[in-house]
Symmetry: C2
Subunit: 124 residues, 2 copies
DNA sequence: CAAGATTGAGGACTCAATCTTT
DNA sequence: AAAGATTGAGTCCTCAATCTTG
């Protein structure tokens, strides 16, 4: 399913699922910024993997890097106005694809059951 | 889950999940052989991706290539004795990891429900 | 020309090594 | 020495182009 979702998003909005997730996580974080390590964990990438993905997004203009005041080792990824725009442009396509490929196949009760099943195998 | 399963298999038996799946599919096919295209579909890889994976497995000795008598364009992947051995060596670790990471979390009824849920989103 | 398979080029990811700061 | 982040090297995958046969 997630592969199909990715293909759908990519063809409709020209955005990859992982990029969407990165923009989404940043958008809902305080000041639209997150430490590199925290963001890596949030989207399921290694530190180095995220570092290279952010390189690409900086190059595209969706994200900027910012230094950390209280810890000079640290670095933030910060969503730019263009990044917010890009996220919002793809939100609807993402939601529609998710509904069509996954959510529409289940009742509310089934979705609750599925959700509890998923929790059980989390982190195992 | 499948990522954890992969890590488990790889650390215990030194085999990747995708390699295991390839050996498994070949083992249950007639004459332990399959056309490259069919095998690619069965394990969810592109033709080129499978071609390169088979290159590695041939190099390791688990698989041989064979020509197709009735269609000279075609090519078979054939499991070698060493390949059968390798598959059997990792079967138990695979089953144990699958139980521990996934199956043990559910009752028989829940597994039936999950199975029907999965069928609904197949191919969508 | 279409189909089966492989190869060339390039993308995205990981591990290990490195640099900087704590 | 340990932690945050990046970089170097290598793996695995895909798309497009190619070669061979139907």
């Amino acid at each position: 399913v997630s592969r199909e979702l990715e293909l759908e998003l990519e063809s409709v909005e020209g955005i990859q699922l992982r990029t969407f997730t990165v923009l989404f996580e940043l958008d809902r974080a305080p000041h639209r910024r997150l430490r590199m390590s925290d963001l890596a964990t949030a989207v399921g990438l290694s530190r180095s993997g995220l570092s290279r993905l952010i390189d690409r997004l900086v190059h595209e203009g969706s994200i900027e890097r910012a230094e950390c005041d209280d810890d000079a080792r640290g670095s933030f990824a910060v969503l730019t106005g263009q990044g917010v725009q890009r996220l919002n442009d793809s939100r609807e396509a993402h939601a529609a694809a998710l509904r069509r490929l996954f959510l529409d196949h289940f009742s509310a009760a089934e979705l609750r059951a599925l959700s509890s099943y998923m929790e059980r195998v989390q982190g195992e």
